[in-house]
């Protein structure tokens, strides 16, 4: 079964199958078929129909009256409602165009665009209005949330036109979201979080304060989480060009501890503000990331 589901395959292998659109559709199909229950049915109050119980269905949707009358298990299904406006905020700075092993892993940018496309498709299929903001030093693209047909293709086109460059200034993009989401909605922030932490935290908390559900995907290449044990090198920041001479052999253990500390600090800071935080490696299958986002969407109701 797993071999048929693109959402569980290695991201690089999945990406080799075609463009963003095809990959996103394949991933979403696999993702939805793997769900034992649809998280996108049942949160509405308008009853639609009964269907026989399948293993994995939540017991709360069992219709106990029917069980009593017919001695058979049925669950109730409800009509979906489009009551959510979601915005995907995507970091397209220069640092995102990096992979520690280009032969075996996607760059953070490639991973982020495919993840964003798949997320948009999932949201749009349940009639959620979905929009997109791409940013680096400034906002590069902004598509207002819509639920109309063709929105997804518009989003995919925008993703294809984005090119990673420049530095990272997320606070501007996040404040732009405030303008795009006039009522309660979902904000999915996808970034490597190589940003000014205090400013970004402030902006995210502000969004949360405005009643938005905020989900942060912290993308990280495995080579960023653990330095390869190479000899002395001059490490150059692709965004600023600044360099530091260091020996990974000397720093490796301390560096790993630093990264763990940083991730823990992000998680602690965001979750304390009611913001969902997901640390995602670019080697993680897309389905895992989608599942986390779906859980956030379900909580939103």
């Amino acid at each position: 079964m797993r071999g048929d589901r693109l959402d569980l395959l290695d991201p690089l292998e999945v990406s080799a199958l075609g463009g963003i659109e095809l990959v996103a559709e394949g991933v979403v199909e696999g993702f939805l078929s793997g769900l034992h229950r649809s998280p996108y049915r049942g949160f509405s109050v308008e009853f639609a129909e009964h269907r026989p119980y399948q293993p994995g269905d939540e017991l709360r949707y069992l219709d106990w009256k029917v069980v009593g009358r017919r001695d058979r298990l049925y669950v109730k299904q409800y009509e979906e409602e489009t009551n959510l406006r979601a915005t995907l905020v995507l970091d397209v700075s220069r640092s995102m165009a990096w992979s520690g092993d280009r032969e075996h892993r996607l760059t953070k940018f490639d991973y982020a665009t495919r993840l964003a496309a798949a997320l948009a498709l999932v949201l749009l299929r349940q009639r959620d209005a979905t929009g997109l903001i791409g940013f680096d030093d400034e906002v590069r693209c902004a598509i207002a949330p819509r639920a109309r047909a063709g929105q997804w293709h518009a989003l995919v086109r925008a993703l294809l036109e984005l090119e990673p460059r420049g530095g990272t200034a997320a606070e501007g993009a996040l404040s732009r979201v405030t303008g795009l989401l006039r009522r309660r909605g979902l904000v999915v922030f996808i970034s490597d979080l190589l940003v000014d932490r205090d400013l970004v935290l402030l902006a995210l908390r502000y969004l949360r304060h405005r009643g938005h559900q905020v989900v942060v995907f912290h993308l990280m290449d495995p080579a960023e989480a653990d330095l390869a044990a190479a000899g002395q090198s001059r490490f150059v920041d692709p965004e600023t060009g600044d360099g530091v001479v260091a020996s990974p052999r000397d720093l490796r253990r301390d560096y790993r501890a630093t990264v763990e500390r940083v991730v823990a600090a992000w998680r602690r800071s965001l979750r304390s503000g009611g913001i969902a935080y997901h640390h995602v490696s670019t080697a993680t299958p897309f389905g895992h990331a989608l599942r986390r986002a779906a859980a956030g969407r379900a909580r939103l109701g």
Binding site: R234, F235, G243
Partner: protein
Amino acid sequence: MVFLQPFALLLLGFGVVPPLLHLFQRRRPPDVEFPAMRYLRQTEREAQRTIRLRHLLLLLLRVAAVVLVALAAGRPVVPARVGAGHEPTALVLVLDNSLSSGAVSGGTRAFDDLAARARETLGAAQPADALWLIGADGVARRGSREELLAAVAAARPEARRLDLSAAVATAARLVRASGYARGEIHLLSDVQRTAFGAPDSAAAGLALLVYHPVADPPANRAVVSAHATPATWVAGAGAVTAAIGGAPVPAGPKVPVTVTLGGRAGGRALVAAPDVATLGVTAPLAGWAAGEVDLEPDELRADDGRPFAVRVVPPATVAWDSAEAGPFLGAALGSLARAGQVRAGGGGAVRLGPPPPAGAPPGAAAVVFPPRDPVALGAANRALAAAGVPWSFGPRIEREDTLAAPRLPEINGARVTGRYRLVNPSAEAPRSVLARAGGDP
């Protein structure tokens, strides 16, 4: 602690190489694009002290490694007393007290230095050790520490040559046969090149410690041989021929050589090395006498003197008939008598003249002349036969011949114009002939 290869300590200079490399390493590392620089900077900032300390320790370790290699190359030897003791060991001391060990350098005799080392080694020995001492005689003596210390104290440079190769081979066999797990051979010698015999691998795999005095052997002269000339002296005086050996010293001063015989000083000469000196000495008493030829002492005392012995006999008493001996022989005998080499007398041991009459004392020596009158030749032959002499005078030969007398160089080659051929019918006769003329005795 001493170093057997002190020059290897020059390698300590390489100890500055790691710090120099550390300080002056200018290699530019390759550039690597890395977006998570903020994590790297933060890590470096936090770990800077640790990394510096680690680098410093690494530097110290590298320097220490170089220093240790240099010290190891110097082959340090720690005296046993420094440690708490050692496991039971089979130890063979080869103490080279051959003649050359008597050489004095810087006021110290080489042997004294070697003996001090031997005492030092024996002093560190324990009762459980098996100890042997091999001296210049090549004999291995086993004993306790105290016994061998006494043997070392009693040892002196001897006029012997110790074959160091053979001595070490003997020591190796002793160590292997001892059954001890640990064995050592200590060779204490001035390690002269000529002291090594045929190469021997018997000591392969064993611990062999060689100690030799630091100073080079000094220039040396020696009395190589001394013998009386001739071998038997007539009481009164004689001569001793001494050969002086040693490395020639260009423009070096000549040194005096003296001779003593029976405690009496004899002649004296100045010699250079190598040289041969003939020294006169008085020998008043008959019998065997011991003497010695001595050089002025140099750094190697042991070969500065050489003994000799000579047999001194009293002068022979000679009786001769002046008429028969003739004027020349009479004058010669008179000169010898005046010089004390012969003594004239009727009852002498040697008689010169015609054949002795019957009844002459047996064993008395006689020099028999043929009679001046050929008619008396038959009577002379009869007298010789009566005295038991197998020789007789043959016919007179008037012909010029050359005398062949290898054992009498004084008359060898002399011309002879007239002679009597000597006749001896016995088979042993040719061996007693001193001279021949024309092939005849």
